[in-house]
Symmetry: C2
Subunit: 518 residues, 2 copies
Amino acid sequence: MRDTVAALGLALSTAGVVFPSPDPARVREQVRAWRQAHEASILREFAGLLAVPNLASDAPNIRRNAERIVAMVEQRGLSARLLDGQGGPPPVYGELRVPGAVRTVLVYAHYDGQPVDPTAWASPPWTPVLREGPFQEGGREVSLDALPSAVPGEWRLYARSAGDDKAPIVGVLAAVDALKAAGLAPTVNLKLFFEGEEEAGSPHMAAVLDASRDALRADLWLICDGPVHQSRRMQVFFGARGETDVEVTVYGPARALHSGHYGNWAPNPALRLARLVAGLRDEDGRILVPGFYDDVRPATDAERQAAAAAPDVEAALRREVALAATEAGGARLAERILLPALNVRGLESGHVGAAAVNAIPTEAHASIDIRLVPDQTPATVREKVESHLRAQGYTVVHDAPDLEARRTQPRIVRLVWGAGYPAARTAMDLPVSRALVRALEAGLGAPVVRLPTLGGSVPMYLFQQKTGRPVIGLPIANHDDNQHAANENLRLQNLWDGIEAYAAVLTGLGPGWHAGPD
Amino acid sequence: MRDTVAALGLALSTAGVVFPSPDPARVREQVRAWRQAHEASILREFAGLLAVPNLASDAPNIRRNAERIVAMVEQRGLSARLLDGQGGPPPVYGELRVPGAVRTVLVYAHYDGQPVDPTAWASPPWTPVLREGPFQEGGREVSLDALPSAVPGEWRLYARSAGDDKAPIVGVLAAVDALKAAGLAPTVNLKLFFEGEEEAGSPHMAAVLDASRDALRADLWLICDGPVHQSRRMQVFFGARGETDVEVTVYGPARALHSGHYGNWAPNPALRLARLVAGLRDEDGRILVPGFYDDVRPATDAERQAAAAAPDVEAALRREVALAATEAGGARLAERILLPALNVRGLESGHVGAAAVNAIPTEAHASIDIRLVPDQTPATVREKVESHLRAQGYTVVHDAPDLEARRTQPRIVRLVWGAGYPAARTAMDLPVSRALVRALEAGLGAPVVRLPTLGGSVPMYLFQQKTGRPVIGLPIANHDDNQHAANENLRLQNLWDGIEAYAAVLTGLGPGWHAGPD
């Protein structure tokens, strides 16, 4: 085994303990064989978990989920318990101590799901249904009690949270089962941390991290949430953009005035809002707020190279969503999301179309979300935007101005900011970052996509800030899983691949991740 | 009487016929005395007319209105009949030929009214109710069958079309009654022309004007519609701005994309629309479309002077609608409406406020109305706006683009134009214009406000273009009559003043209006 381990750069630990990783190809082979022999039971366990309604706000059911997962973890011989949710649903904690292992990997997932509109679903959201392919392509329903001996990878299991985010829970437990059955010991300790209110915005997570600091101590946090790459290749992401948002209101006359009698006498708030918004960014995405980029940490060479190497999904996506061109001269998507972004998510003033009336509107509204990158913070961004508007002569207020204020201040803008949170990014050239990618690629026998950051926002910063440990994303769901929407589903091959990925991490990440040659 | 006539500048006709106008003060006195003795019957006749529902689309009732008015006109000894409505409600035509008169004044009004929302009315819209003052100030209801001998001018009659626009019909007939009772002969022929679908956009008016050309021949058209000045002074308006409007749509991705994953890669249509709109005009109302002002006929000295002399209503209005400042450095309202105006009447894209989602919208919409002045036309304005957008790289289309078009053309803007119509303006220094003002001022014993143009749009151009005759507006309703809204009303003093104004026109406008010294 030593040859292989050396070839992977995961040789001796600095502590001097010889701790060889098993041969990745053999691990894959054995894990796959075990899975192929147990597909029916894996899917039935999965379906059982999916059958429990899982809205974070549904206290009895969300607790049933938590208790069921504790039982599933314990069934594997791991210790498991509920943590104090600090007022929210109880997180599930599990632990596998490996004799001789000196490093600990924590796998994070969440067991709660997005709200559902049952009328939009082809089958009830908490009645798992297996289909021979995507529902909208006519995939026929297959009974979970009459499965063939080999279940095709293109079949899909439909239910709320099939992809987001119960699949990793089932996947990592199956990986533990498979390794155990093959007599392959993990080379790292494993901790499991499954949250119950991620889709509700994780309002109690900071308190949970503080209160359970000791239990949650780990050397690497793996965030198992989100989808794999659109090319269906496994991916890891080393960061996520932060987010803040603001509702903008500017004011016109206190009652709508006839646009003929008073047009070009009374100020028009819709026009003023258009000018305000147009002054925030150009059509290539460059944000025009002075100093906006001051806090932007430049991308590293490793990040730029990884972004450039990301598979090209743009051409297909452009065709799908009918875009003749993209911003910034067609720059790569993975490169664009290394930068902050300002998105106008809504405009509203007066009426358009058949409802339009010849009046000067009383107010005009814009809703804007801003994606942040390191080292921006919601507070610094807010300050810069407000200064920018003040420099244009605006009086910035945060509450609705009364009529007397509108009579005395000619340019009032009301800004209502969401809380927001900062970006997070783990350096791609840390030894642990490189070791993780190597372990996955060796274990899967295929290259993985390395994304310096997600374009979207997940609160990775919270784990990073509270624990000070590297946080890296390892999702397994298919990108076309209808996450957050009706008919959410998991493509089975993604679960099969996910099991092998978890096994690769558990056996391929030795204690030597700090010592391997880079 | 000659002295008075000479003082009014309405001396000998060019035809050499001596045709003295009666003394204006005496006319006023006699008309007022007659009115004071007949207030109850005037109001009961008015209420009877207001009790007939008058939506242009309600064919049986709109015809009942027309027939009732024909009867009212005939009752005064005038000839009257229905004209062919050319597919619309029949216009009412009436005629009073005056022996010796060589000029003919046509009084236009309309007997149809705006649609109603009965739930918003304090009393049913077609059940006229007299109140001792404005409803919202607690004005108590008074029975029309138990009126005092003198009805206070501040009382108000509530019903749909009380102000807009049945009051002039009742007023001009009362003026004829009063002159007849006093033995005062008009000095001009009178024609009456009452339309039945003005609030529906006068779709058949052009055809009516063509078909009834001979009947409608007149030397002066008086448009008796709209309100008097906000200062409650009687006013005449010599023009109206024209109008055109356009619905603007720009396009983003064909389905909403996640603003995190795709923000600053996929073009944002809301941002693009904001920039497009911001490029149409500045915050002082200056329209930035190249060549937009090329066709604007400069205001004459007379128009500028009249605008400057208009009573100041701005300070009170600014306070009422809570505006700290107005456009163009606080320039006078009457001066501003001499110019074209571009009003953003609506913006809509994505969602704002509680409904906001972190997505790049698929489309963004603006609704814009443009007020025109002589000699602009909807066609020239449309051409200039489209050229302006093309110069910014937009592909201008008029139908919704299909996906293939969106895949190949990076900047598509869809423009859907309303029909629109041009402005009209009658020169204020025409002899007839001056004569009308003099007749009114002498007859009323008070100065009148002379507006070079209304800011709003009424199709005066149609009368002007089709007849080639001077068209001047002489409204009598109060400006606070809730025109087009619930609880429409007429302040009685406006009707009393209107009767005197019509009498002043009928007796003060001699055949000499072309010959008087200017």
